[in-house]
């Protein structure tokens, strides 16, 4: 089941004092039931008993609980944060699962069976059998409109979503275009409105009819929801203001890609900037593949390769 070139063991030793996956078996069962219900009703927020995790709310406790509930000994886990495998949060969560499961980990999107993410979907297209787990801060798309939980639940039950289009109308009236650029609301399976977590709207199309299973966990708000494989996910828009994704004039400085989400990195106090793929694994992979061609642009990029871990990383469009 595990491909040969994947790291055979987690970089951290399995700590036997913890139950497999940190959560007790009853909790995992409760979460799985909630997830089954979520998969059965695409886009519908299912309440669950969110547990105390060894990190505070706001740091991905929902996503971690979902992963903990579904991970098995034979799984291969990838964790990314803002598209990168080597940011602090990604490293810590990967280490955590190493300690509590001993499961193999990877940076390769293709080789992972479970990918936990904060704020991005990988550029490499996902395949059948893969599971994405998203960390969600606020699951309720109507919360800005209606503070009452009972009222928003009623609105979902009755599919009363007019208010959301009011928000988009206001954007167009005020700015001339829809101003939401991340956590862009979508309609799932033509029935429930959902927040896809704070991924850039660039990634929304990847949700539509994906072969992978998408699971979303919000720890503080105690909700899980899901998009099963091959489900319709449509971003909200107007007929005369259709949904569009971000575009850049520049290409990636490292790999030359023109169709991935680029981060803008400030290099010095004079404001020199570089544009680099947010998905570091894809970028490295793409650059490695293109090095043979020796195109001038890529040669320059290779020569001035930026080490992201040593320079302040300021991704474009990030939530603060």
């Amino acid at each position: 089941m595990i491909p040969a070139h994947v790291h055979p063991a987690a970089p951290v030793e399995r700590d036997p004092h913890y139950n497999f996956g940190y959560l007790d078996e009853s909790t995992k069962r409760m979460l799985r039931r909630a997830l089954l219900k979520a998969v059965a009703i695409p886009g519908y927020q299912v309440p669950f008993g969110s547990r105390e995790m060894p990190l505070p709310y706001g740091w991905g406790t929902g996503g971690i609980q979902v992963t903990a509930a579904i991970i098995g000994a034979n799984d291969v886990l990838k964790v990314i944060d803002q598209g990168s495998d080597d940011t602090t949060n990604a490293v810590n969560i990967r280490r955590f699962f190493g300690r509590v499961t001993g499961v193999a980990t990877t940076e390769s999107t293709r080789d992972a069976s479970i990918i936990q993410t904060r704020h991005r979907i990988p550029e490499t297209p996902l395949g059948k059998g893969q599971i994405m787990v998203y960390q969600v801060p606020i699951p309720e798309p109507l919360r800005w409109l209606e503070p009452s939980e009972t009222e928003t639940r009623t609105m979902h039950a009755l599919a009363e979503y007019g208010g959301m289009h009011v928000r988009l109308y206001e954007d167009i009236a005020q700015y001339g275009h829809i101003a939401t650029t991340y956590d862009y609301p979508v309609m799932v399976n033509g029935r429930y409105m959902m927040r896809p977590s704070p991924i850039p709207k660039f990634d929304n199309p990847k949700l539509d009819h994906s072969p992978a299973l998408m699971l979303f966990g919000a720890g503080r708000e105690k909700r899980v929801y899901a998009v099963p494989p091959y489900t319709s996910v449509k971003s909200l828009d107007f007929a005369d203001h259709p949904f569009t994704i971000e575009q850049w004039d520049e290409c990636c400085d490292v790999c030359g890609s023109t169709n991935t989400f680029l981060d803008e990195i400030i290099l010095d106090d004079q404001g020199t900037r570089r544009f680099v793929c947010s998905d570091t694994e894809y970028c490295a992979h793409h650059a490695a593949g293109a090095e043979d061609k020796k195109e001038p642009a890529q040669q320059r990029a290779a020569a001035a390769r930026v080490d992201a871990s040593t320079i302040g990383h300021i991704p474009a469009g990030a939530a603060s």
Binding site: H165, V166, Y169, A239
Partner: protein, 259 residues
Amino acid sequence: MSAIQPLLSVRNMTHTWDGVHGCRDIDFDLFPGEVLCVVGESGSGKSTLLQAVSYQVTPKFGSVWYDTRDAGFTDLARLTAAERRMLARTDWGFVRQNARDGLRMQVSAGANIAERLMAIGDRHYGDLRAVAGEWLSKMEIEADRLDDTPQQFSGGMQQRLQIARNLVTRPRMVFMDEPTASLDVSVQARLLDLLRQLVTDLDLAAIVVTHDLAVARLLAHRTVVMRGGYIVESGLTDQILDDPQHPYTQLLVSSILQS
């Protein structure tokens, strides 16, 4: 000649908040294109009547029937909550005394008016904006206020905006709770005249709750007088005001200061 079917029928309806205060044994019909005024002083139960008839609360006793577009004359108790809410958003309007309670104050006038259309699936921004603009001028508000929020409107303008928000889906019936009571006298006349025209132009049926007999005289074909939760007299508005029969109605009519 066949009788015209009523649009709304209320039979034996009673609703109280605490077993004591509210409205009792309410019976009336409302016909298409007809305005009915419910007149009474504070504590008469008229607001409770409106809330119960519009099913914002479920009446404790009795029934309310409505001639729905799809299913004909239906007992509202038989509809699901979803169907009633849909009815309330499309075929009915509800104009509250205080415009702030019936508007989204933080959202532009255009969005306020277009919301109901967006809720029923209209998805063309340009068309929505055009319709909202038309309604703004129908309500005698300048077209360039379309992107302003109601915070920036006067009380009379807010009330007219609330009315437009309710009428955009061309409902057949509108409930109004003291639509002019919060407005200055000079502003009331303009609003009442606007309402009068709209009722005629759009063939609206309306139930208007008011303590002001002048509103009844101006707007309503028929009037019912409430006291202590009961309807004490009902009839054509001009008959109620010119030839009141019940002692309480006579007291009410004789108490109006002649201008």
